[in-house]
Amino acid sequence: MKPQIALTGNEALALGMRQINPDVVAAYPITPQTEVVQMFSQFVADGEVDTEFITVESEHSAMSATVGAAAGGCRAMTATSANGLALMWEIVYIAASLRLPIVMPLINRALSAPINIHCDHSDAMGVRDSGWIQLFGENAQQAYDNLIQAVRIAEHKNVRLPVIVNMDGFIISHAVENLKPLTDQEVTDFIGDYKPEYSLLDPGNPITVGPLDLQDYYFEHKRQQIDGMEHVFDVVAEVAREFKELTGREYGFFETYKMDDAEIAVLGLGSTMGTARIAVDNLRADGIKAGLINLRLFRPFPAGQLIRALNGVKVLGVFDRADTFSLNGGPLFLDVKASLYDSSRDLKVVNYIYGLGGRDINVSNIEDILRELVAIKEGQKEKKVTYYGVRE
């Protein structure tokens, strides 16, 4: 491992991409992802990677060309944010359905309108049902570590599905933090060689990719995708074990913080969970048994493990940085509630939708929320969904 360096989140991801040294990258600039494309272009210009870089004319073509390159037997990557991902949307589904193990950093940003460049998770949540694996990280280090591990997860023979590596826009992407990167050789060895399942460029064996698939076979191909997803849990755990051996850094489906005896807890995704850790500490100092779960693997959703981790918790606050507009709660909240339905657990779950369009959330905000959870535990009538931090 290399010594500690100070980098922005975007620099960390660009570094990770350079070390992965994909055969092909096709990408289009969009705030806050732009720096990744710029830095990677420089690596290409300086001959620091073997990558052929396609400077496409849109994100739609970025994903299309990435799919083409992956179907041509190459390790292929792209990266985007918000509206860029929305423009890719059609091909995002196609990439997963063609079982192409593409890895894509997604620098999370709010979707328009009105146009906003700052962090929320509406982009990631928009493709939650697209068949991509989704990893979240709290800081630049986790995003970098997730990126390296994502290659192994995506390309595993039992999985063969694409992975989105989420990182909060601006909050992490444009902030400088400490990073302990792997050496180039460590990354090369960890990810190994890519052996494609099929290739358009195998001259003796021409194939047809992306045929018309009607009522008689389409469903079987969808079932195969589910099978790939079913294997993700084992593969994520296996890759994390090896990663720990290499780095000492431990990853699971989620990270628990002071959950052993927690009676109230918060669960969420991304950078906010770092801030929440301090709030949990502050409440603990007041003798309140608070805890935190920082979810790393959002798709597939590790329902069983999550329920077990909530053992003993009386009130759970689920943090969503996006809404579903179902009037029934945010996307993460809905997944948690659905997972708990069969568990006969005496647990109240409430939803806090916060931080849309980059609205900041600080320690005292989260302390407020934790204290509200305490009040609910003590009998205060709960409100199912709270839009936290919005002006009335």
Partner: protein
């Protein structure tokens, strides 16, 4: 490349990169074009096909009419997808992981080329990928049931430019995609017809041989959309050339060259007359549309002659 043909395959398929058993209509021009294009290439081919008649009729799971590698991604991204495959090829070649020569050919209908796929095509041409993009231009969205496209001729009756009591079919003249592609300063752009199959194959050979992107726009008869007899497809395609509605020419490194000059130029009526989609133009009140079409055809031909240095 001629893969071994299994026993269930029929004799007519031996050596064909595009085989029978496709579900295209009787007398479809797209199949004739694909057949002739692939006959002109002698390396392994990867084709990328835009959603449309050709794609849905030739790759119905679990069978494929393609003896070469084939990828269909979506409607609007045949060129972008092939950019990716062609780049993969260069990446693998650079790393010494592949030796064979490959040719990259995209096929799109006029919808996937002139309209929804236009941006993707423009991007791929501008970036200079070594590929040949072939538009089989049947002048409307035939796959979804004959809706107008920007390739539909003025006056044509389609399901979204229907002839009504107020509007006599499509109002606008067609977009000139060949000229737009030429304006990308690509090394080769051409217009061709399957009736003139030798000319078509020659153009494909040139397009494949040059380094960089090439574009060929090929007129593709659609008996259903044009409302013509299935058996008459090649005659009608021939008339399109003889009336100069569809001049055959190429632009090689910026130099225009007319590849076929009709001995006797026929009036544009002769191209319109056999087609049911133009039937209403022969009513008295619509005769001026034919006149306008003739004028446009004349203007464009004059321009072509000038550009080719023949006038």
């Amino acid at each position: 490349m001629t893969p071994e043909v299994n026993q269930e395959t029929n004799r007519a398929q031996i050596g064909e990169e595009f085989t029978s058993g496709h579900r295209l209509c009787q007398g479809c021009g797209a199949s004739i074009i694909v057949h002739n294009v692939l006959k002109a290439v002698d390396t392994p081919v990867v084709v990328s096909v835009a959603t449309g008649c050709l794609e849905v009729s030739s790759s119905i799971y679990p069978q494929s009419a393609w003896n070469c590698s084939f990828i269909h991604n979506a409607f609007e991204n045949a060129a972008a997808t092939l950019s990716g495959v062609e780049t993969a090829y260069r990446a693998l070649k650079k790393q010494g992981r592949i030796d064979d020569e490959f040719t990259f050919i995209a096929f799109g209908g006029d919808g996937g080329t002139y309209d929804i796929g236009f941006q993707s095509l423009s991007g791929a041409m501008e970036r200079g990928h070594d590929m040949v993009y072939i538009c089989y231009d049947n002048q409307a969205y035939m796959n979804t049931g004959i809706q107008r496209s920007s390739a539909t001729p003025q006056g044509a009756n389609t399901t979204t430019s229907p002839v009504g009591s107020v509007i006599p079919g499509k109002k606008q003249f067609r977009k000139d995609i060949t000229e737009i592609m030429a304006a990308h300063n690509i090394p080769y752009a051409a217009q061709a017809s399957p009736y003139h199959w030798k000319d078509l194959r020659k153009k494909v050979k040139k397009a494949v041989a040059i380094d960089g992107p090439a574009f060929i726009n090929v007129l593709s008869v659609c008996p259903r959309g044009w409302r013509t007899a299935e058996s008459k497809g090649m005659e009608i395609t021939k008339i399109a050339v003889e009336t100069l509605y569809w001049p055959l020419y190429e632009i090689e490194e910026g130099q225009y060259h007319i590849t076929h000059k009709p001995k006797k130029i026929k009036p544009v009526e002769e191209w319109l007359k056999p087609q049911g989609r133009f039937k209403h133009l022969f009513k008295e009140e619509n005769k001026d549309i034919i006149k306008i079409l003739q004028e446009r055809v004349n203007e464009r031909w004059e321009r072509l002659l000038r550009l080719a240095g023949e006038k």
